[in-house]
């Protein structure tokens, strides 16, 4: 496990990381989300981005896909600075990216078949027979070939996610971003989706980014994990390395403890004072909001595996 950024890969583009982020800084509504994040996503691997809720995992994906420009730093996707390229080039790049949205984002007026066929119809002039075959193949892969004619409103939450997954992979992109792909899946569907992610990666060499909280599932497919906390990459390494919990961040996150560097409670006034069980006026400090992220003690800051500056 390493706490330092992956060293920039030299020379050949096939060896260079598909995504290279340097000095990323993001401020949303006055709150600093990322403060100097460095991150490399290698080609052909499955990289999981994990971290407590609200740490900006989805925001990071929005940077990678050019939906949001960084306040500082650069995000290079396949060698191009996605924050500075024009609309045409951005759309050309997005055609090579499959994105599974957190809430699936299916087009509600279109059937399951039409949703999956949508990217094909918009960008490729394919014969209808071929479109049909590709769509049915992808739906078969997610186990929903029989639901092709249903509308999204007729599907369960897990089925909607599987349709969204079929749509994300329908063009065999170079990069697939899965934002919370395991939410709402039953164990059977979860198992099949894990196999599908692994198969896509192994057979087509697709680079995958997985944003998820399900540790067991992530450990089964991910080649490496980046743990985001407090606006930085708190740790990164293989699933087994991180699971050993050698830093306070990984220890707390992987064991699910409420005590640790990541606060469970949102900043709030003193509990007892707010309930009227303790005098509020005499001790102003008790009513002061707690810091969003508790300051780390010096000893912890000196340990290896701490957030990169």
């Amino acid at each position: 496990m390493s706490a330092n950024p992956t060293p920039p890969s030299p020379a050949s583009s096939s060896d260079a990381p598909l995504i290279r982020i340097r000095g990323l800084r993001t401020v949303l509504s006055g709150k600093t989300i990322f403060d100097g994040v460095d991150l490399d996503i290698p080609r052909g691997k499955i990289t999981a981005i994990m971290g407590p809720s609200g740490t900006g995992k989805t925001t990071l994906m929005r940077h990678i896909t050019g939906q949001r420009a960084p306040d500082a730093g650069e995000v290079l996707v396949d060698g191009r600075d996605i924050g500075r390229i024009g609309r045409e080039e951005l759309y050309a790049l997005r055609e090579k990216i499959g994105y599974l949205f957190q809430n699936s984002a299916l087009l509600t007026d279109y059937s399951v078949f039409e949703n999956v066929a949508f990217p094909l119809r918009q960008h490729l002039k394919l014969p209808e027979e071929l479109v049909r075959n590709i769509v049915l193949t992808k739906l078969q892969a997610v186990g929903l070939r029989g639901a092709a004619e249903l509308m999204p409103s007729e599907l369960s939450g897990g089925m909607v996610r599987r349709v969204a997954l079929a749509r994300a992979i329908v063009r065999d992109p170079m990069l697939i971003i899965y934002d919370e792909p395991f939410v709402g899946l039953d164990p059977i569907a979860l198992n099949q989706i894990l196999r599908l992610i692994r198969t896509l990666n192994a057979t087509l060499g697709i680079t995958s980014i997985l944003v998820a909280h399900e540790l067991a599932a992530v450990r089964r497919v991910a080649d490496q994990i980046h743990l985001i906390a407090a606006g930085k990459i708190a740790a990164h390494g293989t699933p087994d390395e991180l699971a050993r919990g050698e830093t306070p961040w990984t220890r707390q996150f992987f064991s699910g403890e409420s005590d640790g560097p990541v606060p469970f409670h949102y900043p709030a006034p003193d509990y007892a004072a707010q309930l009227g069980l303790a005098p509020a006026g005499g001790d102003a400090a008790r009513l002061a909001p707690a810091p969003a992220v508790p300051a780390r003690d010096e000893s912890a800051a000196a340990r290896p595996g701490e957030p990169r500056a």
């Binding site: 896909t65 939906q67 759309y91 050309a92 997005r94 055609e95 990216i97 994105y99 949205f101 957190q102 809430n103 984002a105 299916l106 087009l107 509600t108 949508f118 990217p119 918009q122 960008h123």
Partner: protein
């Protein structure tokens, strides 16, 4: 209301107008790209035009009947009931047809556009299109804008036709005005270019403005159920105000 609050509201309002204007420019720039989605534009013309026919025809008929009844009463005081056809048709062609159609259009089609686009925004469908390299301005917004500009003048003409029919029903069939007098006075005093075509131009302008407001409100809505509800309300309110204000301006220039 404090002066600071008033100034803040004023600046917010000016900002909204500016943002809406910029959005209009973006739509115009997206129209050439939207031509590849021609079928979507046709579908929208059907949805905002043909599906609005019932309310437009019904309201047009009743507005014409009320006009016929009121004007017949007023004109009979001066012995001028023969001018009923002329007065009704000029009122409809020049003002009532375009304006009432725009108000009805805002209530029927404008709100539906805002709610549809707002819900697409709230459920990430707009972002999903962006991620699939499909320009939502060209695929979602521009076809609706084109449909509004095409449908509004046609709907206004239908409204006018039904309005005149309503006035004829009341004036001729019910109150006994001579049929020939009704039509001949109308045709001799109505100028096609000055009255009818100017009314059509007004409708085109109203169609552009109402559709711009409706799509802007939907596109920029807060992604919550309350946000969509507010946006829908704002579509009706702003469309009505802007339609009436623009009507005054255009009337002043087209007189």
């Amino acid at each position: 209301m404090s002066a600071v609050r008033k100034r803040s509201l004023l600046l917010d309002g000016i900002g909204q107008i500016g943002a809406c204007g910029l959005f209009g420019l973006q739509i115009l720039a997206a129209i050439p790209r939207s031509l590849r989605y021609f079928r979507e534009s046709v579908r929208q013309v059907w949805f905002v035009g043909a599906m609005s026919l019932t309310i437009i025809m019904t309201c047009g008929l009743f507005v014409g009947m009320v006009l016929g009844l009121q004007l017949y009463y007023v004109l009979s005081i001066f012995g001028g009931t023969a001018a009923l056809g002329t007065v009704v048709s000029l009122s409809l062609y020049r003002e009532l047809g375009p304006v009432v159609t725009a108000l009805l259009f805002a209530g029927r089609a404008g709100t539906s556009m805002t709610a549809e686009i707002g819900l697409m925004r709230a459920t990430d469908q707009i972002d999903a299109m962006e991620m699939m390299a499909v320009d939502p301005l060209a695929y979602v917004v521009a076809p609706r804008f084109i449909a509004g500009v095409i449908a509004m003048p046609i709907l206004a003409c239908v409204f006018n036709a039904l309005g005149i029919l309503g006035a004829h029903l009341v004036g001729v069939s019910w109150l006994g005005l001579d049929n020939g007098t009704f039509w001949s006075n109308m045709t001799s005093s109505v100028d096609v270019w000055k009255d009818v075509v100017n009314g059509v131009w007004k409708s085109v302008a109203f169609g552009a403005v109402v559709t711009l407001i409706a799509t802007y409100q939907g596109y920029s809505t807060a992604p919550t159920s309350e946000g969509v509800a507010y946006a829908t309300t704002r579509t009706v309110v702003f469309s009505s105000i802007v339609t009436l204000a623009l009507d005054f301006v255009m009337t002043a220039f087209l007189m």
